[in-house]
Amino acid sequence: MDTLLQTLKDGLTIGSLYALIALGYTMVYGILKFINFAHSDIVVLGAWLSLVIATAIVKALGLESGQTAPWWVGPFVLACAMLACGIIGFTIERLAYRPLRNAPKLNVLITAIGVSLFLQNTGQLQFMFGTRPQPIPTLLSDKVLFAIGNMQVRLLDLVVIGTALVLMIALEWLVFHTKLGRAMRAVSFDVRTAGLMGINVDRVISITFVIGSSLAAAGGFLWAVSFTSIKQPADTSWVLLGLKAFVAAVVGGIGNVRGAMFGGLAIGLLEVFGQQYINPALKDVYVFAALILVLLVKPGGILGKATVEKV
C-alpha cells in the first residue's frame, strides 16, 4: 500500500513536469504546425538560470551550503527564470523562426535543430553554465507534512505538483476564457483567415512563444528543485526529457492544450509504475511503446481529433 501511494506520488510529480513541458510543444505546433526542437533547451535554460539566480541570492544572504533559503527565494527565482526564458523565447521566434514564416516547414524544422544546438553549446561555455553538473541550493525546507506508513509526503512534493497545477489552470483559463485565448485558437484554426478577421497574427505567435517558454522555464525550475543536481546543458538526459515531453504531447493529441496535460500525467504515471511493478531497466521502453500504440490505434492522440491531411 505504501509502495502504491509512493509510486503514485512519484508518477504525479514527474507527470506534471512532463505536462508543463509538453504544453510548449503543443502550443507551438497548434499554431505554427511545426515542432520546436529548441523547446527542451529552454527547459535546460530555465533550470540553469534558476540555479544561477538562486546561488547568487543565497550568496548575497550569506547562507551556508545546506541551509534552507527564506521562503520568498523560491517564488522569486521561479518568476525570474520564467521572465528571462519568456524573453529568450520571444527573441528566438523573432530572429530564427519569423523570417521563415513562409518558407517550407522543413526549413523551419532544421532551423529549430540549429537553435537547439546553439543553446546547448552556448550553455556549455565556461562563462555561461560550464560543463559539469551542479547542485542547486536548498530553496524549500524538506519538512515531512504527513506520512502514510513508509510513504512520506513532503512540502517539496506538494509545491512541485501544486505549482504545475496552478500554471496549467492559468493557461487553461487564458486559452478558453480570454480574448487573447480566442485569438490564439483562431490562429491555430486558420492563420490566414484569422489575419483577415483583424487578428494580429505575429503578435499572437510571439505571445504563444513567450507563454510556452515560460512554462518550460517553470518545468526546468521544478525539475531542478526536485532532483537538486542539474546536468550540464548538452547532457543527453535533457534530450530524453524533451523527447518524453514531446511524446506526452503526441499521446495526448498534439495541438491540444488539455491533451498535453493529460498526456504528461499519463506518461509520467506509466513510466514510474512500469519501473516499480514491471522492470525498472525498461522505463524508456514503456513510454515509447505507448507512443507506438497510440499512433497505431488513434494517430491523432487520445484527446486529439482525427484530421485529414490536405494535399
Binding site: T3, Q6, T7, D10, I14, S65, G66, Q124, T131, R132, P133, Q134, P135, D142, N150, Q152, R154, W223, F227, T228, S229, K231, Q232, D235, T236, S237, L240, L241, V272, Q275, Q276, P280, A281
Partner: protein, 404 residues
C-alpha cells in the same frame, strides 16, 4: 524600389562577408592546430626532438573531475621531467609535450579522439581513460596502430585484455569487489546488502558481479539488485524497492554524479543505512553535490591523501602548489603514476618505437609510485593494495587498507 534593392544587396553583402569571415576563421584555426611545433610529420619525435604523448579523458560532462584530475596529475609529471631536462634516451634528452583530448565521458567519442592523437598528433604513447567503458572503446584503436596505451584507473579486467599494447597502473575489479565485500562483512559486520548499479557501464556491471560473489562467499546475503542507466534523475522507484528489503548496506558501484543523486534521494526516503562504493566515487564533486547525504559513507580507492607516507605527502604538497591548493584525488595520483611509469619505460627502452616501448612497460618492476609499488604482471595489470576511505566533513578520510 531602388532603395529596397540597395538594402537587400547590403544585406546579402554583409551575409557573404560574415560567411567569408567564418571560413577564414575556420581555416586559421585549422592552420594554428597544424603549425604547433609538437605535431611532427616524421614520427613521434618532432623536429625539435620533443616526444609527444597523448591523454584522452572526460574533461567535460558528468565525470568531468575524472578527466581533469588525471590531466592535472599527468601535467605535474610532465612538468617535473621537463624541469629535470626531459626523458633521457640513449644519451640524448627529449622534452615531453602533452596533448589532451576530451571524450565527454562517452565511449563513442573515444575511438575518434584516440585516432586523432595517433594519426594527427603522432603521439608515442597514450594515457587514458578513467571510465572502463570509454577505455574499452579507445584501446582497440591504440592496439591497431601499435601505440602503447596505459590506462591510469580503468579497473574492469577486460580493458587490458584488448591486446598486448594496453597496460594499467591500478588494481582490477575482482580485487576491488573483494575489498569492498571484505570491508562490509568484517569491518562493518553487515549481513544483508542491496546493490544499485549502472547497467550501461562495464565498470559498474563488473564491480557488481565481483561484490555479489565475494560478499556471498563471506557469508553475507544480497537482498536486492536494481539497475539504473547513467544520467537517470529519478531514483525513487528503485530506492523504494530496496527500502522494502530492509538492507543494512547499499552498495553503489557507480560514478560520483549519479551516486550523489542516489544518496540525496535515499536519505529523503528515510533510508539511513551506510552507502558503499568503488573508486568511481572519487571526486571533489561527490561531497559538493551530495552534501550531508553522503556523510559516513565508504568507498574503496587507490590511495588516501591523508596517509602519512613520504611519497604521498610530497605528491600532495607539489600538486597543491601547482593547482591552487586543491587536494589531489586518487585519479590525479594514478595519472601522475601512469605518466611516470611511461617515462621510466621510455628511458629503459631508449626509443619510442611502439614494440620496444611496449616491452619496456611490460617489464616495469617495483616502481615506487604514489599509489603504491607498481609491478606489471603477465596480464599487463598492476597488483596493489586498496584503501577504504570514509566521507567525513566532506572529505575522504583513510579508514582501512585491504591487501591483495
Amino acid at each position: 524600389m531602388h532603395a529596397r534593392a540597395n538594402v537587400t544587396s547590403v544585406l546579402s553583402f554583409s551575409r557573404s562577408a560574415l560567411l567569408a569571415a567564418g571560413v577564414a576563421l575556420a581555416v586559421l584555426s585549422g592552420c594554428d592546430r597544424g603549425s604547433t611545433p609538437s605535431t611532427g610529420t616524421t614520427g613521434s619525435t618532432g623536429a625539435a626532438g620533443d616526444i609527444v604523448i597523448g591523454h584522452y579523458g572526460s574533461l567535460t560532462g558528468a565525470e568531468a573531475t575524472f578527466g581533469l584530475s588525471t590531466d592535472n596529475g599527468i601535467r605535474l609529471a610532465v612538468e617535473e621531467i621537463n624541469a629535470a631536462g626531459g626523458v633521457n634516451m640513449g644519451g640524448k634528452s627529449h622534452k615531453i609535450v602533452l596533448k589532451s583530448e576530451d571524450t565527454e565521458g562517452k565511449p563513442e567519442k573515444a575511438g575518434t579522439v584516440v585516432t586523432k592523437l595517433i594519426t594527427a598528433d603522432k603521439v608515442a604513447a597514450v594515457i587514458g581513460e578513467v571510465a572502463s567503458s570509454v577505455t574499452l572503446a579507445g584501446a582497440p584503436v591504440a592496439q591497431q596502430f601499435g601505440v602503447p596505451m596505459i590506462t591510469p584507473s580503468s579497473t574492469n579486467p577486460q580493458c587490458t585484455a584488448v591486446g598486448d599494447m594496453i597496460f594499467r597502473v591500478c588494481f582490477i575489479d575482482p580485487f576491488q569487489g573483494y575489498a569492498c565485500a571484505k570491508f562490509a562483512a568484517s569491518d562493518l559486520k553487515v549481513k544483508q546488502a542491496a546493490i544499485l548499479f549502472d547497467q550501461a557501464s562495464a565498470y559498474s556491471v563488473g564491480l557488481k558481479d565481483e561484490f555479489e560473489k565475494n560478499f556471498t562467499k563471506l557469508g553475507g546475503q544480497i537482498v536486492a539488485v536494481e539497475a539504473y542507466t547513467k544520467g537517470e534523475s529519478n531514483f525513487n522507484p528503485l530506492l523504494t524497492k530496496i527500502r522494502e528489503t530492509g538492507a543494512e548496506l547499499l552498495f553503489i558501484p557507480g560514478y560520483y554524479t549519479d551516486v550523489a543523486n542516489i544518496a540525496l534521494q535515499a536519505r529523503k526516503l528515510g533510508m539511513t543505512m551506510p552507502l558503499l562504493g568503488g573508486d568511481g566515487w572519487d571526486s571533489s564533486d561527490l561531497a559538493k553535490n551530495g552534501g550531508a547525504a553522503i556523510e559516513g559513507s565508504f568507498y574503496s580507492n587507490h590511495y588516501a591523501s591523508d596517509q602519512p607516507t613520504p611519497e604521498i605527502q610530497s605528491f600532495v604538497r607539489k600538486y597543491k602548489e601547482k593547482f591552487g591548493g586543491e587536494t589531489p584525488d586518487g585519479l590525479a595520483a594514478l595519472g601522475y603514476d601512469a605518466a611516470r611509469v611511461l617515462f621510466d619505460a621510455m628511458q629503459r627502452a631508449g626509443t619510442t618505437d611502439g614494440a620496444k616501448l611496449r616491452d619496456a612497460i611490460a617489464s616495469t618492476k617495483d616502481f615506487k609510485g604514489v599509489t603504491g609499488t607498481i609491478s606489471i604482471n603477465e596480464k599487463r595489470d598492476a597488483v596493489k593494495p586498496a584503501v577504504i576511505v570514509e566521507m567525513k566533513g566532506g572529505k575522504p578520510v583513510f579508514r582501512a587498507r585491504v591487501e591483495p
